[in-house]
C-alpha cells in the first residue's frame, strides 16, 4: 500500500472521529462569543472525565458514584502544587494524575471485589469522604474558602490561558483521550474488559486476570478524571469544595448513562447534551437543570436504556415494525 492509500484508508475508517475533531478544533474560528467559547472549554474537561467513567462503566461494567473525588484530586492537586510550591502546571498535573492512579489502585483492590449496589455505595462513600476532607483539611485545602490564583498552562512561554489557546490545548488532549479510548475497543485488553463485564467467570477461565483488569481500568478512569480536574482549574484559576459534591458525581454518571454506556461515543453525546441542555433550559429556569437531568435518567433507563447512541438502532427497529408489521415480527422471531 502506498502512503497515500494508507492515509485515505485511515481517514475512511475513522471518518466520524476525524470529522468531529476537525469541527471541534475549528470552532474558535466561527464561534466568537467568549461565553460560548468558555462553555466549550468546560465541555472539553467534562468530556475527559466522562470518557474515564464511560471506560469504567461501559467497557469494564463497573460503577462509580464517587468519581468527583478523582476530579478533585486533579483539581486540588494542581491548585495546591502550583500555588503553594510553585510547581510547573504541567508537572503538577502529572503528579496529581499519578496520585489519582495510586489512590484508585489502593481503593480499587478491595472495592472492585464488590458488586452491584455494594460497589456503588463504596464508591459513594469514598466520594463523600474526600468531599469532607476537602472542607476539613483547611491547612491543605483552605477549606470552604477555596484556593485562588491558580496559574494558567503555558508551553514554551506561550500563555495557554487565553480562550483560543486554551480551547486548542484542552480539546487537543480531550481528543487524544477520545481516540485512545476508541482504540481500546478493538484490542486484547478491550475485549477482555467486555468479556469480564458480561461473564466474569468465563473471562477468567480464558486467562483474563479479572481483578487486575478491573483495578487497572479504575486507575485509568481516575487518571482521566484527574487530568480533567487539572485542566479545569487551569482555566478558571480558582477552586472550592462546592464543585465536588455527590451531585457532581451523579451528574457525571448521568452524562455517561444518557449518552450510552455501551459506546465510547456515548461519552461525547452525553457530555454535549449535559453541557448545552442547561443553556436551553436557562430560558425557563436555571433551577430546573438538575431536575431535568434526574428525570431524563429515569426516562432513558426505561425507554432507551442504551442511551443516545442507541437511538439509531431503536429508530430502525420502530421503523421496520411500522413499515412491514408481519415480516418484522418474523424477523424478530
Amino acid at each position: 500500500m502506498t502512503a497515500v492509500t494508507q492515509v485515505v484508508e485511515y481517514v475512511r475508517r475513522h471518518a466520524a472521529f476525524i470529522t468531529f475533531a476537525v469541527v471541534v478544533m475549528a470552532a474558535p474560528f466561527f464561534v466568537h462569543s467568549t461565553y460560548y467559547l468558555s462553555i466549550l472549554a468546560f465541555t472539553a474537561t467534562r468530556l475527559m472525565a466522562a470518557l474515564g467513567l464511560n471506560l469504567l462503566m461501559g467497557q469494564a461494567g463497573q460503577i462509580s458514584l464517587g468519581h468527583a473525588a478523582f476530579v478533585a484530586v486533579g483539581a486540588y492537586g494542581s491548585a495546591i502544587m502550583t500555588t503553594r510550591w510553585a510547581l510547573d502546571p504541567w508537572l503538577a498535573m502529572a503528579i496529581a494524575a499519578l496520585l489519582a492512579a495510586a489512590i484508585a489502585g489502593v481503593l480499587g483492590v478491595p472495592t472492585l471485589k464488590l458488586k452491584g449496589h455494594y460497589l456503588a455505595m463504596a464508591t459513594l462513600g469514598f466520594g463523600e469522604i474526600v468531599f469532607i476532607l476537602l472542607i476539613q483539611l483547611k491547612w491543605l485545602t483552605s477549606g470552604s474558602d477555596g484556593i485562588v490564583g491558580i496559574p494558567a498552562l503555558s508551553i514554551a512561554g506561550l500563555d495557554l490561558g487565553r480562550p483560543k489557546a486554551y480551547h486548542w490545548i484542552a480539546w487537543g488532549v480531550a481528543l487524544v483521550m477520545f481516540r485512545m479510548t476508541l482504540n481500546l475497543v478493538d484490542s486484547r485488553v478491550g475485549r477482555s474488559l467486555k468479556a469480564l463485564h458480561r461473564a466474569e467467570i468465563a473471562a477468567s477461565s480464558l486467562g483474563v486476570n479479572t481483578s487486575f483488569r478491573k483495578v487497572q481500568t479504575f486507575m485509568v478512569s481516575a487518571v482521566f478524571a484527574s487530568i480533567a480536574g487539572s485542566f479545569y482549574v487551569y482555566y478558571i484559576h480558582f477552586i472550592s469544595p462546592d464543585s465536588f459534591t455527590i451531585t457532581f458525581s451523579v451528574i457525571l454518571l448521568t452524562t455517561v448513562v444518557i449518552g450510552g454506556v455501551g459506546s465510547v461515543w456515548g461519552a461525547v453525546w452525553g457530555t454535549l447534551l449535559m453541557m448545552f441542555l442547561p443553556e436551553y433550559l436557562k430560558r425557563f429556569n436555571q433551577d430546573y437543570t438538575n431536575l431535568t437531568f434526574g428525570l431524563l435518567m429515569i426516562v432513558i433507563m426505561i425507554f432507551l436504556p442504551g442511551g443516545l447512541v442507541s437511538i439509531g438502532g431503536a429508530f430502525n427497529r420502530v421503523r421496520r415494525r411500522l413499515r412491514r408489521p408481519d415480516s418484522a415480527r418474523l424477523e424478530e422471531g
Partner: protein, 253 residues
C-alpha cells in the same frame, strides 16, 4: 506422569459434602468421562480443577503443579481450558470476538499498546484474528464469525465455547455437558470434533449425561455418586458394573 492427577479430593460447602476422597488420573492423549447422577459433584470437581474453588482436602496436580492455590486465569495459563454447563458465551459480542477473547493469554499487548495503537498491538490483532478463525474452523463455525453470539442455536453455542477454549491452546480441555440439548446429528458432529481435538494432542475430560456419547468417545470412565467415586474403567466395564447400574436406576445406559 499423568497430565492431571486428582488425589484424595474432598469438598465441603458448609454441612454439605459435595466430594469425598475422589482420586483418579488423566493421561496425556486420553478422553476420560466423568459421569454420575445429578448432584454427584461433577461440576464441583471441574470448578476445582479449573481453579474456581479450592479443595477442602486433597490435591489436584497438573503434571507437577499443585492447582490448589491457583486462580482461574492462572490455571488457564498452565493449559487448562473449560466449557460451562450453562453456556457462558458473550451474547452481544460477535462469534469471532468471543473466540478472540480466548487468545488473551497468548498475547502481550497491554493497555498502552492499545491506547496508542502501537505496532505490537496491530501485529497481535492480525495474529489473533488468524488464530481465532483457525479455532472456529476446528469446530466448523468459520462461516458465522460476524454474527452476534446470542443468535446461535444451543448446539453452536457449545461449539463456540469449545472454539473459544481451543484458542487458549489448552493441554487439557474440560467439557461440561457439551452434548446437552443436541439432537443425534449434532451429537455425531460433536463426537467427530472431539476426536479431532484429541488427535491434535489435547487431553479431554468431559462430563456428560448422554451415555451413548460417553460410551462411544471415552477411553475411560469415572463414575461419581454422592461425591464418591464408585467405579473407574473402560466404558464396557462400567456399563456392566452393578454399583453403577444401581446408582443410575431409572437412567438409560
Amino acid at each position: 506422569m499423568p497430565i492431571l492427577s486428582v488425589q484424595g479430593v474432598s469438598k465441603r460447602f458448609g454441612g454439605l459434602e459435595a466430594l469425598k476422597d475422589v482420586s483418579f488420573a488423566l493421561y496425556e492423549g486420553q478422553v476420560k468421562a466423568l459421569i454420575g447422577p445429578n448432584g454427584a459433584g461433577k461440576t464441583t470437581l471441574f470448578n476445582l480443577i479449573s481453579g474456581m474453588d479450592r479443595p477442602s482436602e486433597g490435591h489436584i496436580f497438573f503434571r507437577d503443579r499443585d492447582l490448589g492455590r491457583l486462580h482461574p486465569h492462572q490455571a488457564s495459563g498452565l493449559g487448562i481450558g473449560r466449557t460451562f454447563q450453562h453456556s457462558k458465551v458473550f451474547d452481544d459480542m460477535t462469534v469471532l470476538d468471543n473466540v478472540k477473547v480466548g487468545r488473551y493469554g497468548r498475547g502481550r499487548a497491554g493497555i498502552f499498546s492499545a491506547f496508542l495503537s502501537l505496532p505490537r498491538h496491530r501485529r497481535e490483532e492480525r495474529e489473533v484474528r488468524e488464530a481465532s478463525l483457525g479455532a472456529l474452523k476446528r469446530v466448523g463455525l468459520q462461516e458465522r464469525g460476524s454474527e452476534p453470539a446470542g443468535n446461535l442455536p444451543m448446539g453452536d453455542r457449545h461449539l463456540l465455547e469449545i472454539a473459544r477454549s481451543l484458542a487458549t491452546e489448552p493441554r487439557v480441555l474440560l467439557l461440561d455437558e457439551p452434548a446437552a440439548g443436541l439432537n443425534n446429528e449434532e451429537t455425531e458432529q460433536l463426537m467427530g470434533i472431539v476426536r479431532r481435538i484429541r488427535d491434535e494432542g489435547v487431553t479431554i475430560l468431559l462430563v456428560e449425561h448422554d451415555m451413548g456419547f460417553v460410551m462411544d468417545i471415552s477411553d475411560e470412565v469415572v463414575v461419581l455418586d454422592y461425591g464418591k467415586k464408585i467405579a473407574e474403567g473402560p466404558p464396557l466395564m462400567i456399563q456392566n458394573d452393578e454399583q453403577v447400574i444401581r446408582a443410575y436406576l431409572g437412567d438409560d445406559l
